[in-house]
């Protein structure tokens, strides 16, 4: 059985590892359009900040593919998947045949149409190549603008600031990280940004990029009102612009095939696409979201790794179901450790229950969102130690009636879950370390 994995990041790697546990012999080929092998995208901002050197970007050993006997084709982009002929066609015209295929092509950074890509000093931050070229443009004392206040934008802003640049973050929302926090947590985050010397322009966008001799000189900002209408804002001189407006799934290679796509490639609980022997995982895949109970693309490292593993197990002929994904993020910068997951700003009048505990002076904020006595979302700022206990309660849809009043107390921990759930939690405690059953052969 020939296995082909398109993509060489978290999902592709997780899949290869899991597949090889159950199938030692089938030939596996990994194809990636990048020329660098195995590096962690999530570490690129640390590399930009000089917190780590380039060698630490690798998230598996150098001999990883050799040890798992996988053939690796780098620098070649898969342009078409042909489910009929069971092969993929690469940009150099070469064809690679498969019996089982995993599409783990990830996503590409979005570049708004008004941002020119051919002006020096304008970058996205997605690949190691992006990080390298940004690194060469970092000069202490020079001015940088980061467009977008999401996770990547914030990590980039702190990295550039750490390297001595004057940084302005331009964000359409009233506060940064708007997808993962609420106004209460934002107050602490925004105050910390200011203290750290990072300027934020909220309710704003970049309308135009100005350049001198093809090098960026300034951005024209626009003020965005609550209806989304723009009026002209100020001119922000800068030497560097990092665009962090999110990612879009790389699924062009399935266009025109029977593989069904929505926002991402649609998958079932086995990470199978609508074509039986073709699987998808990671930032390109749309999965069931446990918190929102809707199909969604949770483009996150942890989700990609887990989805890759599930795909790998199933591709090896064993049966294992994916419970679904949860949007989850951990971000930290000087003075702020923040973890959030699930639904953090629930719609009103739909039966959601919200508890908050804000201690602005102490820079502590906690919020839990519940529905029908089950945790649906969480935000923790600077009291994050038991975040995983709460995530586990969310993922397992545990009824938390008995401990509802304690969820946000500083004394809450796994001990209380054990106390409230007795035998159910005892089993978890006892069995956690024990090898799970071999997954059924299909």
């Amino acid at each position: 059985m020939r296995v082909v994995i398109i993509g060489n990041s978290a999902a592709g790697t997780g899949a290869l590892e899991a597949f090889r546990k159950w199938d030692r012999d089938s030939p596996v080929t990994v194809i990636s359009d990048e020329t660098a092998s195995l590096y962690s995208r999530c570490l690129l901002s640390y590399y930009m900040a000089d917190d780590i050197d380039q060698s630490r970007l690798a998230f598996r050993a150098r001999d990883f593919h050799k040890r798992l006997r996988a053939k690796v084709i780098l620098g070649r982009k898969v342009e078409l998947v042909d489910p009929e002929k069971q092969h993929v066609i690469c940009d150099d015209g070469s064809k690679v045949g498969y019996d089982r295929l995993l599409i783990a092509t990830g996503g590409s950074a979005k570049l708004p149409s008004n941002i020119p890509s051919n002006v020096d000093g304008v970058f996205v931050l997605r690949t190691i190549a992006d990080a390298e070229v940004i690194r060469r443009c970092i000069h202490s004392g020079k001015r940088a603008v980061v467009l977008g206040g999401g996770l990547v934008g914030m990590k980039a802003a702190f990295a550039l600031r750490k390297r001595g640049m004057e940084v302005t973050v331009v964000v359409r929302s009233p506060f940064v990280l708007s997808q993962m926090i609420d106004a209460g947590a934002a107050r602490i985050v925004m105050a910390r940004l200011k203290e750290h010397g990072i300027e934020t322009l909220t309710g704003a966008d970049v309308s135009e990029v100005e350049s001198v001799k093809r090098h960026i000189s300034a951005v024209k900002t626009a003020i965005v009102d609550s209806k989304g209408l723009e009026s002209s804002g100020k001119l922000q001189p800068c030497d560097l612009l990092v665009v962090a407006k999110g990612v879009t799934p790389n699924m062009q290679m399935v266009n025109g095939t029977e593989i069904q796509c929505n926002r991402g490639i649609i998958t079932n609980s086995k990470m199978q696409t609508s074509v039986e022997n073709i699987y998808a995982a990671g930032d390109v895949a749309e999965t069931y979201d446990i918190a929102t109970q809707q199909q969604s693309v949770n483009a996150l490292w942890t989700c990609a790794m887990q989805q890759g593993k599930i795909a790998g197990i199933n591709m090896a002929g064993r049966a294992k179901d994916y419970d679904g994904s949860v949007g989850m993020n951990s971000i930290n910068f000087p003075g702020v450790d923040l973890i959030s997951f699930g639904m953090v700003r629930p719609p009103e009048n739909q039966g959601y229950e919200v508890q908050t505990d804000g201690r602005a002076g102490a820079r502590i904020y906690k919020k839990v969102v519940l529905k029908d006595n089950r945790i649906k979302g969480l935000v923790l700022v600077n009291r994050i130690d038991n975040a995983g206990v709460l995530l586990s309660l969310l993922s397992r849809k545990v009824d938390v009636t008995g401990i509802k009043s304690e969820l946000l107390s500083d004394g809450f921990n796994f001990g209380r879950v054990l106390g409230s759930r007795g035998a159910a939690e005892q089993a978890r405690y006892l069995k956690a370390s024990q090898p799970t059953e071999s997954y059924d052969e299909k």
Binding site: G14, S40, C42, L43, Y46, D51, I52, R56, A58, F59, R60, W301, T302, M305, Q306, K309, M328, N329, S330, I331, N332, D337, I339, F341, I384, D385, N386, A387, G388, V389, L391, S392, G402, E406, G411, N413, F414, G415, R416, L418, G419, S420, G422, A423, Q426, R428, Y429, L430, K431, A432, S433, Q434, P435, T436
Partner: protein, 170 residues
């Protein structure tokens, strides 16, 4: 596979395990010297309150450390590839040299067993005292609440105990 377990009906919350663990993971390995070490050594086992309201006798507690999960969520979550499950010993290993302090492991650990070293911003946790015959916490436990054994042995131990151990308390 042998693991560290805690019998909550025997745990008195005396925190002997915490002290022994911190000493075992100190530079000097001695209590008095360990107290003066900078940074002060961490304990990777923590005594947690199990009951909120007191029962007739006393509050129950549990000494909890990393459960060395067979399918560890932290391994998937680590963006640096710094967490590895040793398939032979069963130990989940955290690599200090790879940790960037992103706390993704904290985000997903269902037991809350990741300890965040405040000075170094590095995630640490129970290493099951690999180089010792008995884990330090088990050795130090004065009541026999902490044991190092196979899970079946532990279940048998609980079954043979007189009180209504680990039952639903309410």
């Amino acid at each position: 596979m042998k693991e560290i377990f805690c019998n909550i009906d025997r745990c008195l919350a005396c925190k002997s395990c915490e002290i022994a663990c911190a000493i075992a993971h100190s530079q000097s390995g001695e209590l008095i010297k360990a107290l003066q070490e900078v940074p002060s050594p961490n304990h990777h086992v923590t005594v947690l309150k199990v009951d909120d309201k007191g029962g007739k006798v006393r509050l129950r507690s549990v000494a909890l450390q990393c459960r060395q999960c067979s399918e560890p969520a932290c391994v998937d979550a680590c963006i640096a590839g710094g967490i590895v499950k040793d398939e032979i010993t069963g130990i989940v290993r955290f690599d200090r040299d790879r940790c960037v302090g992103c706390w993704s492991c904290t985000m997903v650990c269902p037991f809350g067993a990741v300890i965040r070293e405040q000075d170094s911003k590095i995630a640490v946790k129970c290493d099951r005292c690999e180089d010792r015959e008995q884990p330090a916490c088990v050795e130090a436990c004065p009541t026999g609440a902490l044991v190092f054994c196979e899970p079946e042995e532990f279940e048998a131990l609980l079954a043979g105990s007189s009180s209504a151990i680990w039952e639903e308390s309410k």
